[in-house]
Amino acid sequence: MTSHVSRLRTEAETALEAQFAALDLKGARSDAFAAFSAKGLPSRRDEAWHYTDLRAALKHAAPLAKAPDAARMQAAGATLQPLPRVGETRLVLVDGHYAPSLSDRAPPGVTFVLAEATTQADDALLALNTAFAPAALGVEIAAEAGPVSLEIVHIDGPGAVYARIALSAPKRAVVAVFERFEGASRETQRNAVALIDVAEGASCEWTTLVADAAALHLEAPVVRLAGDARFTNFALVCGPALARRQIDASHSGPGAKIALNGLSLIDGVRHADTTLTVRHSAPHGESREFFRHIVADEAVGVYQGKVIVDQYAQKTDGGMKSQALLLSPNAQMNNKPELEIFADDVVCGHGATVAALDPEQIFYLQARGIVRADAEAMLLEAFGIEAIERVADEKARDALNERLRDWLKRRAG
């Protein structure tokens, strides 16, 4: 006898079904939605989502954000205007749609194109993005282009916003990207995917700033590294009610190096999840992960890092570190570092610490006259700045440090 247990659809899942049906799409998008629909929203029963129960958290699915009209573009322009420039060439997406009128022209050797960019969608976040996202904004870099410095600005209003970016760095290219998410409110549910290919000998430093107040921030960079390629990411997350960054990186050529870093500042009842997988499929690869969390009030931090070393990936050098400061007895940090090693000649390690502010340090500062609240703020700023120091680009670093200080000021005030 077989029994069929049919899962009850949540209100949000039912709404997503209706939204997709109304679009009447076929092909890859339809396949992706079917893949999502078969499993529904991920919950704590799914291992990768164990600490972030999206099914329970997403009480309703926001209506799809429309393609921006003239009034919306004007409002987005006003949001954009005060933001200090970080990269040389600014690219703007409004509610997930490339906005040429707010963007700079592509520099020599670089073209911006709109294209269908598909990706394997065995994950709910990627599947929904594939199903719903407007055409991907492709950044194509010619082989002879010099160093490229981009600032990608997402300006998102209320509603469900899907965005997709595809960037390919050709052989030996040098690319710096500062990606920032701005404008969102508690009515914004965001899903952003970046498909990043780094060709042989190319290097890409990608900095991410997630500091607006989205209700939901789902972000999935998918990174492919060829031989001797370099990829570095640093993400500052502070603001969204629920943030999940899931990074899927793989080394397909020998000698590739990846460094994934981040700082999450979470207070109130916010929840910030960084879940990453780095797969080494070629020898002599290197991966470094370094994540810091400051968790206050009743906030929840999640760090899940999985490094997989295939049997051919000999001489892989992997190191993972997660450090959290908990500022209240109700603050929570969930750490899950994992190593899956199938090669026999590798150096891989991981470490995770969760601690409160050090009372000895606070006393030392107070003993010199510094008021307790200021002493705490100094120590928190130091903890944050030490992480941000990993960003090589000075302008990007300054922008992140400023956000860190704003966050500390807001907490104190």
Binding site: P359, F363, Y364, L365, Q366, R368, G369, V371, D374
Partner: protein, 250 residues
Amino acid sequence: MMLEVKNLSVSIHDQPILDGLNLKVEPGQVAAIMGPNGSGKSTLSYVIAGKPDYEVTGGEILFDGENLLALEPNERAAKGVFLAFQYPVEIPGVATMTFLKASLNAQRRARGEGDLTTPDFMRQVKTAAQSLKVDFDMLKRPVNVGFSGGEKKRVEILQMALLQPRLCVLDETDSGLDIDALRIVSEGVNALRDAGRSFLVITHYQRLLDHIKPDVVHVMSKGRIVKTGGADLALELERNGYRDYSEAAA
């Protein structure tokens, strides 16, 4: 009287450390406190500075007649109490210069004075650093991180010179110092001696007192002052050890 400790009893984790201790320090006086390990010397210095975790079960500490025990550590500092730590604390990520400026300005604000201008601050730091042979570049590094034992102690005295406290508590400032560093640190302390400033110099050894000549020496044992004498008392202790005084307190 600058400092008056009256019948002070202190416990940590229900373990009594100080047991009815009495001590007076006059303005301009350099008082040494000597005593064996575990006699409560460091506890006394921490309780004066206001370290949490110590439970005062009896007595009081008066500074200029005011009850210090009611004040936060930073309030005590602003009133002029300074503790040179036996083990200066490392603070990764906070540049020493930033820390010095924050300390100085916090104390000025607490006294209703305005912040120092950056040039004034830099001038003061440079002068203090030169006299204590502290490499100026070292002050750009995080507080005490990667400093040698001697460097840490010199930077403690540098802080003291900048903050100009009225009561300086030196908790085993000589520990971990070689002879040259001991001389530099002692000269730094001696330069600060004046009629309005008092010192409580806690040490195991006579050695430091060769450089910083005390006006009075107190012997501490089992949480009390068991003997008080002149500078020659330190020499006597150096010869005979603390055995006699351990008995006295029992």
